[in-house]
């Protein structure tokens, strides 16, 4: 998905003729309706933007409000605020499994962040600076790996994980979350490392550093911003991943949040406030993480897409 080193710059050059077209043609082709549109347009735009804010936020607010209500309130006053803050719903959701699932998600997510980011950074540095033989082939395999979908590998992985005796363990998820995210993460970090000055490596070499010392002591600290982005995107992926977690974990005590919540939904059925509390507990960490690390999040996304 990041095939080209295609950036905005070359694009800017080709598109100049298009602007020239506007410059010559615009004045004569003005529509008669444009005047009306100019006056009512902005109003409609603001109404639309506000409506979209409501459409996006209201379901989430409804979720949070409902998790403080009791069953009767969920039915009788669905639109309003809860009459009191019933924290007990969260305690109930917690003991109904959410705490267990939450812990599992934290374990799998943090372990896979560590393995994915380190292995990818290691490979990226090798590809950028260490002249790996067949480096082009490796890049090709990584690029292909970006396009291969987890669903397609599901059935053979079911057998493979059993043969490796890691089926139904944390390791199944950690290994798969790492393997399937290495392509994206390597490309992301590689794009950053390409821009680092090669003089740094030369200097380290002159000071007697081996390549791996250079990597650990100099390159890794210098790449911190992109490592943070990579870690955040991996967190988002691992925290929310569903299909592997559904198929390769059957032990109820090992389930991660996305699958655990689905289980809980069928167990609790009509205890609505507790269900809402469980959803809220699952959603909040990622929303908070996003609000804090927004800049790094978006850099990771757009750098990963653009290069």
């Amino acid at each position: 998905m990041m095939t080209a080193s295609a950036n905005a710059k070359p694009n800017a050059q080709t598109a100049t003729p298009a602007t020239a077209g506007v410059v010559t043609g615009a004045r004569s082709r003005r529509l008669p309706l444009a005047g009306v549109a100019r006056r009512t347009g902005p109003v409609l735009v603001w109404v639309g933007l506000a409506a979209l804010v409501i459409a996006v936020l209201y379901p989430l607010l409804w979720m949070v409000f409902s998790s403080f209500k009791d069953n009767r309130e969920v039915f009788d006053s669905p639109w309003g605020l809860p009459s009191q803050l019933r924290w007990g719903n969260f305690a109930k959701a917690g003991s109904a499994g959410v705490v267990r699932y939450f812990t599992n998600s934290v374990i799998v997510t943090s372990a896979s962040i560590l393995t994915t980011v380190l292995i990818s950074a290691w490979a990226a540095y090798g590809l950028v600076r260490q002249k790996v033989i067949g480096g082009g082939l490796v890049l090709g395999l990584l690029l292909g790996g970006l396009m291969l979908a987890p669903t397609v590998a599901l059935i053979p992985l079911f057998n493979l994980l059993q043969q490796l005796r890691i089926f139904d363990t944390y390791w199944a998820l950690i290994v798969l979350y790492t393997a399937f995210r290495i392509p994206f993460t390597t490309f992301l970090i590689r794009a950053y490392m390409i821009d680092l000055s090669p003089e740094v490596d030369e200097a380290a070499k002159l000071d007697g550093c081996t390549p791996s010392q250079t990597f650990w002591r100099i390159i890794l600290p210098m790449s911190r911003p992109i490592l943070v982005s990579a870690a955040l995107l991996q967190a988002l992926f691992a925290w929310n991943e569903f299909v592997f977690a559904l198929v390769f974990i059957s032990d109820g005590d090992l389930k991660t949040l996305p699958v655990g919540l689905m289980d809980m939904q069928s167990r609790l059925l009509t205890d609505w406030p507790v269900q809402f509390a469980g959803l809220t507990m699952a959603a909040i960490p990622m929303i908070v993480l996003f609000l804090i690390g927004q800049r790094q999040f978006l850099r990771g996304l757009t750098d990963g897409m653009g290069k």
């Binding site: 998905m1 295609a6 905005a8 694009n11 800017a12 080709t14 598109a15 298009a18 602007t19 077209g21 506007v22 410059v23 010559t24 615009a26 100019r38 933007l49 379901p59 989430l60 409804w62 669905p78 639109w79 490979a123 002249k131 790996v132 033989i133 480096g135 490796v138 395999l141 790996g145 396009m147 291969l148 979908a149 669903t151 397609v152 590998a153 599901l154 059935i155 053979p156 992985l157 079911f158 493979l160 290994v175 393997a179 399937f180 290495i182 929310n240 569903f242 299909v243 559904l246 198929v247 996305p258 699958v259 609505w272 959803l279 699952a282 959603a283 990622m286 929303i287 927004q294 897409m305």
Partner: protein
Amino acid sequence: MHVLNRWRSWVWVLPALALLLVFVYYPIVENLRLSLYSWNAFSAHPVFVGLDNYKTAAEDPIFWRALRNNTVFAVTSLVFQVGFSLVLAAVLEEFVHQRLRGILRTIYFIPAVISITVAGILFSFLYNPQIGLLNRALGALGLDSWQHSWLGEPGTAMWSIIAMSQWQSIGYTAILFVVAIQRVPREFYEAARIDGAGRIRSFFSITVPMVREMTTLITILTISGAFLVFNEVMVMTAGGPSNSSQVLGTWLYRNAFLNDDMGYASAIATVIFVITLLIGASQIYLSRRRRIEW
């Protein structure tokens, strides 16, 4: 000696490559082989059946319905996540002042960071005829005849799932378009304005052609995402009622792990593989052709 040293550099890519080959590439190749056998999770001896599993697929009406549902998913997602999102991004950049723009972008992006499971369950509550807000809102507007058991009726289940997916993804693709629009040199818009081009005309003459590359990328991602959809459907309907919202992913899952027909499931996986391969190849083709144009 020198050559040996250079082979030693494989130490850098070996961990990544090993994981990739064992857990990504091997299963995909193995899946092709497995799709030629009739077997289940407990059978010791898979029986070679040639292309029988693919014949089963071709004669299976639910397989075709699933494929059609994926296609509908893709087309609807294109309209909203490419068309509507591009307009939204342009409006944000054009009309909204700096600070408010940042706040709106953040708000629109939030659904993309909560998990599909959470969003799916939340919307299944929203659609719920007992407690859901949707029917109540329709009732309040006097549109009682529009009320449905949204996920419980074959006619509305698939569309309800698709709607949830748009809710989750519009902000995400809009942000990507915003970044692309910000890369367009401001002078182009100024030149157009001086020459009397309105906002709508600038949008079509400058913004659309200038972000074409991002549009292609998002189009590809949206289409392949629509053919891989699984989580949303699994959480909200599991393919029901009466298989009306079945997609390729859920039909694969059902055959593999509930009907225990692993061979047929592998064949469905191969179909998904071929579809994503075609989409990926067109991505490479399109970006390469464009690079030569420069």
